[in-house]
């Protein structure tokens, strides 16, 4: 299956990436005020004049689409059209942005101050900016930044302002609106607000999609939204949400624009502002509701050092080329285009595949800091119970080994080559001193024995969130390594089956493009063969003598997840004999896991992450091991569970 030739062309080592420039450097050397008041004249899409928000609203209100839906709603409910029209108007007022340059200038000024105190540098690939600038002039543009922090969208607008690009309009969740003053400020800096859920509300959907499409089609401004839907609390990329992507692709599919260019943007933080906040949230320590006062309380973060940020503007992706040969656009010929309709199966799968491609593009250009590798190593060591920690030079040697390995796998690693490895390691450790402890030349996670389990788990989960940044680099080889580990023989088919099972099980957890099992398997084989770990023949998969170290590392990388899924599985078999409501699930499983952790039957505190628990439940649901009754009850289908998961049992047995 795996032919090295086919992969030689896309050897991850050969990926070409742009260089970065620090934008804070100039801010430190010149006046912020002058910068905030600078002359701002972005190049526009085909010279289209920007559109006032009031004008935009009236364009949306007068569109054929809304006209049609208003008539329809009025007919269905018996309401007067005027009345429905008013509702539409109100929805639009609640939603619409009111971008004002003055507000942007205000943010430009204050953010300059804040950024300078928080971050060492904000590094941007300027070639990406140039590509974006060209794209904005030629096509409607959609910006898709990764989402790890509240900071993301402010940072994006800040960057576009800095480089004199058209300011984006940003889809934001309604929860921001809770912060009265800040919400309005965001609105004036280009955010528009969407309700979190409006599934059945036809009118809302129509207004929302028409609003986005109108902005996009006319090329008034780049539309920005988060493909992952929400901030990832674990630093793993989240399974993409398709709603908005569907909307922005629609104008192309229906021929209303020649093309739409989608630009994935990868924002990586050396230290995430919300680090422990996320860990607490995952552990079920309730998150404070977004409020202005809360934001002020959070200002103590201002006094700490958060390292640097890397922002990589990826290659613009033409929706036209994505769709070429995949979508038959003629299917829209027979119904007037302003009549809303559910996308067909093939459109849905096209959008879904594109979404995965785009998230993978984000992952690919995510800059990894050395600390990410250290966190991976330290977590593995902690799990095998090294009480006294690892000697600094040993850790350094291992980090160098891992650096080389990850580079071979194509990681976008920012390892300062001008420093000695030990300098690199110690500066990383010092930036994250809240998470690690160095004592008598030995390094380990900052877990105090007298501390409660949950407090320890906060540290572990924080650390895991850094390791997770590198997961996408190791994921496919790790799946293969685990598959080899689990398979009962060296037969290639056997290994493939095992790989395929693991991949399928984890497809709610990681970004694994649907239907790409064979490609992923080949890619994994290619990488492991290339690095001398494996030999893959026609029939067999053989581990090289010097490959054991790599394999062990890869297996350990995936082990917490495997164990986690296994625990959830055991919980469902043992404890959840009765049906269980969805609300009860998390507290119940948490109790079960704590019990196992305290008894020493489980090594990984990170299994306490509600993210993993939810993902595993979703996976079992998808695999039919568990079923949903009446929408909110979980019923355990034991025979199925027993029958469907033999391979997993085998995995456990081999571990």
């Amino acid at each position: 299956m795996a032919s090295s030739n086919a992969y030689a062309q896309r050897d991850p080592m050969l990926k070409k990436r742009d260089d970065f420039e620090d934008i804070l450097e100039e801010r430190r050397n010149s006046s912020d005020l002058r910068y905030a008041l600078k002359c701002y004249t972005p190049a526009l899409y085909k010279g289209v004049a920007p559109c006032k928000s009031s004008m935009l609203k009236s364009m949306v209100l007068q569109s054929d689409q809304l006209h049609y839906v208003i008539q329809q709603v009025s007919k269905e409910t018996g309401r007067q059209t005027d009345n429905v029209q008013e509702e539409v108007s109100a929805i639009l007022d609640e939603m619409a942005h009111s971008l004002q340059l003055s507000t942007v200038r205000f943010f430009a000024f204050t953010l300059s101050k804040i950024f300078k105190s928080l971050f060492k540098s904000i590094r941007v690939n300027e070639e990406g900016i140039q590509r974006l600038q060209q794209a904005i002039q030629d096509h409607p543009v959609v910006l898709l930044p990764s989402h790890r922090s509240y900071m993301d969208f402010l940072l994006m607008s800040y960057l576009l302002y800095t480089y004199d690009l058209t300011l984006p309009v940003i889809a934001a969740g309604m929860d921001f609106m809770g912060m009265k003053f800040v919400g309005e400020m965001f609105r004036m800096s280009g955010a528009f607000f969407i309700r979190r859920s409006f599934g059945g509300n036809k009118l809302y959907w129509a207004v929302f999609s028409e609003y986005v499409k109108t902005m996009l089609k006319n090329g008034f401004a780049p539309v920005e939204f988060f493909l992952e839907g929400t901030r990832s609390r674990t630093s793993k990329s989240l399974i993409p949400k398709l709603g908005l992507l569907n909307i922005v692709m629609d104008p192309f599919l229906k021929g209303e624009v020649f093309d739409v260019h989608v630009v994935p943007v990868s924002i990586s933080y050396e230290r995430i502002l919300e680090e422990t906040l996320y860990a607490r949230e995952l552990l079920g320590i309730p998150k404070p509701k977004e409020s202005t006062s809360g934001l002020f309380k959070a200002r103590k973060v201002l006094s700490e050092d958060y390292g640097s940020i890397h922002v990589y503007f990826g290659q613009p992706v033409s929706v036209r080329s994505l769709a070429e040969g995949r979508v038959n656009r003629c299917q829209f010929n027979l119904v007037p285009r302003h009549i809303p309709g559910r996308p067909d199966e093939d459109i849905h799968s096209f959008v879904n595949d594109s979404a995965y491609k785009l998230v993978r593009a984000q992952e690919d250009n995510m800059v990894l800091k050395p600390w990410v590798l250290l966190a991976s190593l330290l977590l593995q060591k902690q799990a095998v119970g090294q009480e006294q920690g690892t000697a600094l030079d040993e850790l350094t040697a291992q980090a160098v080994w891992l650096r080389d390995l990850s580079r071979q796998y194509g990681a976008f690693l920012h390892w300062p080559d001008q420093m000695t490895p030990s300098e690199v390691v110690s500066s990383s450790l010092s930036l994250h001193r809240g998470l690690v402890r160095t004592c008598e030349g030995k390094v380990q996670l900052a877990l105090e024995h007298e501390e409660k389990l949950l407090s320890q788990a906060v540290i572990v989960l924080s650390c895991a969130s850094y390791r997770n940044q590198a997961l996408h680099v190791f994921l496919r080889p790790a799946l293969l390594a685990s598959a080899i580990h689990a398979a009962s023989s060296n037969q290639k088919q056997e290994v493939f089956n095992s790989f395929s099972f693991l991949r399928n099980m984890f497809s709610n957890e990681f970004i694994l493009c649907p239907g790409a099992t064979v490609q992923d398997f080949e890619e994994a084989c290619y990488l492991l063969v290339k690095t001398g770990t494996l030999q893959v023949t026609q029939k067999e998969v053989l581990v090289n003598e010097r490959g054991h170290r790599t394999l062990a590392f890869l297996v350990s990388m995936l082990d917490p997840f495997l164990q986690g899924y296994q625990v959830v599985c055991r919980f469902l078999c043992e404890e959840a004999t009765e049906t269980l409501t969805e609300k009860q699930f998390i507290p119940a499983i948490r109790k079960f896991i704590i019990k196992h952790l305290l008894a020493g039957r489980l090594r990984y505190a990170e299994v306490l992450s509600s993210d993993l628990q939810k993902n595993s439940l979703a996976a079992f649901l998808r695999l039919g091991a568990v079923e949903k009754i009446k929408g909110y009850q979980i019923s355990n289908v034991s025979p199925c569970l027993g029958g469907k998961l033999p391979t997993q049992k085998a995995v456990v047995a081999r571990l």
């Binding site: 209303e256 020649f258 093309d259 003629c330 829209f332």
Partner: protein, 591 residues
């Protein structure tokens, strides 16, 4: 009224060389005496005496060509001057067929020039090959039937001896319809209908006329005009295309708003098929007698038989004609205006909207103005539109209009249309601009030959599309052409332009032109075809039809199935299988 003796030929054993073949180019468009060239002073000139533009200097054309295509007067790509007879394969004759044909007295020829002349239409690849002196499969024999009965005899003989027949009218096809199928092993006989060119009768009570199908458009109009009538059917190719060809391709005329398209004009058709003659028994203006058999004939593209005689509606010649034009600030406004005109069903005989590129192109074709006064007026007009009215010269576009009918009504109609135009920001821009617009229709085809002398190749193609998609299709198809050319390594951005040429209640007909400089490309024709293919894909993806009036031929055959569905294809096939089971009419078009 029986015929016009000056155009009749005696039946002879020799080929009755049709007048057209003698005065037309063998490897380009139109009359041999008429062409564009750059004279010794380097100015463009249009030769001959046939057109209004003939004999005139066109000062701006050179600069336009250089600016649009990056052509250089030093770099020429001239055509092979004459046909090399050795390049033509010797004919494969079916001796038995030829023997029996002789006994019928129908003239025929297997002269190389006669055969090559009937082996092509006017697709770019066909003309390009001829210019390079390359000749592919050509008909083995040309026959010139003189009347319906001659055709009956020819078809009978062809069936008897299994000979492949390809009907030939005016030779203006742009769908590869006249190309001989490569795989055809039988002797191919081109049935040239040019001698069947008589008006057989005119019925003034019912306003109909009965013609032989070989009559060419301009002759038909001229002859009817002599009696005070016209058909009003004026496709752009009417100088050369024939009545039979119009029926076989479902042609459309410029003035269809008043007179209708060919399917509206035809009252009765006689077609000779391998199964015999098909025709209706009466001339009732409308019938409910199952699916209309005329619709099997119209658009059959020579795959079922030869159309020999047609009865068509005629109208008294219009009392008054008036051209006009309107300038719009942009194409969007122009389309909106045309849509409104269609909504109010007040379209003039013809209304066409050119986009900005084509407007500029039209400007480049303005002949030298002779008087200071006209040039002063021109300047004033330009000043008024661009400076006073604030129209952007890179956005504005122009609609050309033609009104016909009773003088009073024309003036009234004119006012109505200009009032609508004003609502969309349109400014009346004079009769001259309108008239020149229509004159260019006939002249523009000659321009391609000039382009080909300077490494520029181009083509036009058309579609029909619902109103709500007109703007989208225009933008997307033009952009697709530009992108495809760029991707394929064309150095200079191609000329990619469109115009809306017909309005209907539910949509419009859109015409695209594209051309580019192929200097430095190794296989320009292949590349050209790929771009054309991509453009058609784009049209279909944007809700456009496979063709509005050019037909399918072999060029667009690949899309036929998705256009009419599997069942539709089966229906058409079963008709073909019944009418022509041995594929005597084997030109391979359509299906």
């Amino acid at each position: 009224m029986y015929g016009c003796s000056n155009l009749m030929y005696c039946i002879s054993e020799h080929a009755p060389h049709s007048s057209l073949q003698e005065i037309m180019k063998w490897n380009g468009w139109g009359y041999s005496d008429t062409k564009f060239l750059f004279n010794k002073k380097g100015q463009a000139e249009f030769t001959g005496k046939r057109y209004k533009l003939s004999g005139m200097i066109i000062p701006a054309l050179k600069e336009w060509m250089e600016g649009t295509f990056g052509t250089n007067m030093q770099h020429k790509s001239l055509a092979t001057p004459a046909l090399t007879r050795t390049a033509v394969q010797p004919p494969t004759l079916n001796e038995a067929f030829v023997e029996e044909l002789k006994s019928t007295g129908v003239p025929f020829s297997h002269d190389a020039e006669d055969r090559v002349f009937r082996a092509h239409g006017h697709c770019l690849h066909e003309i390009f090959a001829l210019r390079e002196g390359k000749v592919g499969r050509v008909p083995d024999l040309v026959v010139w039937p003189n009347c319906h009965n001659d055709v009956v005899k020819i078809v009978e003989l062809a069936c008897k001896h299994n000979v492949c027949l390809i009907p030939y009218g005016g030779g203006t096809s742009v769908s590869s319809a006249l190309e001989c199928p490569q795989e055809e092993t039988r002797s191919i006989v081109s049935v040239d209908t040019s001698q069947m060119n008589r008006i057989l009768w005119i019925d003034e009570k019912n306003l109909t006329a009965h013609m032989e199908a070989g009559i060419v458009g301009q002759d038909l109009e001229r002859l009817l005009n002599e009696s005070g009538y016209c058909t009003g059917h004026e496709p752009d190719s009417m100088e050369f295309s024939s009545l039979g060809g119009w029926v076989a391709t479902r042609a459309s005329g410029m003035k269809k708003n008043i007179y209708g398209n060919i399917e509206d004009l035809v009252i009765h058709v006689k077609m000779v098929t391998p199964q015999g003659v098909v025709e209706k028994s009466c001339q009732g203006p409308r019938m409910s007698t199952g699916p209309d058999i005329h619709h099997f004939i119209m658009g059959s593209e020579g795959t079922l038989g030869v159309v020999t005689e047609v009865t068509m509606k005629i109208r008294p010649m219009p009392e008054y004609q008036k051209y006009g034009s309107v300038v719009f600030p942009n194409f969007e406004q122009g389309v909106a205006c045309l849509r409104e005109v269609a909504r109010q069903r007040c379209a003039p005989a013809s209304i066409r909207l050119m986009d900005n590129e084509q407007f500029k192109f039209g400007h480049a074709l303005k002949p030298q103005v002779s008087s200071m006064f006209t040039s002063f007026l021109e300047g004033l007009k330009k000043f008024y539109i661009t400076k006073f009215k604030g129209f952007d010269p890179d956005c504005l576009c122009v609609a050309t209009l033609l009104f016909e009918g009773n003088r009073e009504k024309v003036l009234q109609h004119e006012k109505q249309v200009y009032d609508i135009a004003a609502k969309f920001g349109g400014l009346a821009a004079g009769e001259d601009n309108g008239q020149r617009g229509y004159m260019l229709t006939f002249v523009i085809a000659y321009l391609r030959d000039l382009g080909m002398d300077y490494y520029v190749i181009g083509e036009s193609f058309e579609t029909s599309v619902p109103w709500d998609r007109v703007l989208d299709i225009c933008r997307n198809v033009k952009a697709r052409i530009i992108r495809e050319c760029k991707d394929k390594g064309v150095q200079f951005q191609p000329f990619s332009t469109c115009r809306v040429t017909q309005t209907y209640d539910a949509g419009a007909c859109v015409y695209f032109y594209f051309a580019f400089n192929y200097r430095g490309l190794s296989d320009p024709v292949h590349m050209f075809e790929e771009v054309e293919h991509a453009a058609r894909e784009e049209i279909l993806a944007n809700g456009g039809s496979l063709s509005h009036h050019h037909g399918v031929g072999k060029l667009r055959k690949a899309w036929m199935r998705e256009t009419v569905s599997d069942v539709g294809m089966g229906m058409l096939k079963s008709v073909k299988d019944y009418v022509d089971p041995n594929n005597i009419f084997g030109n391979g078009n359509l299906l």
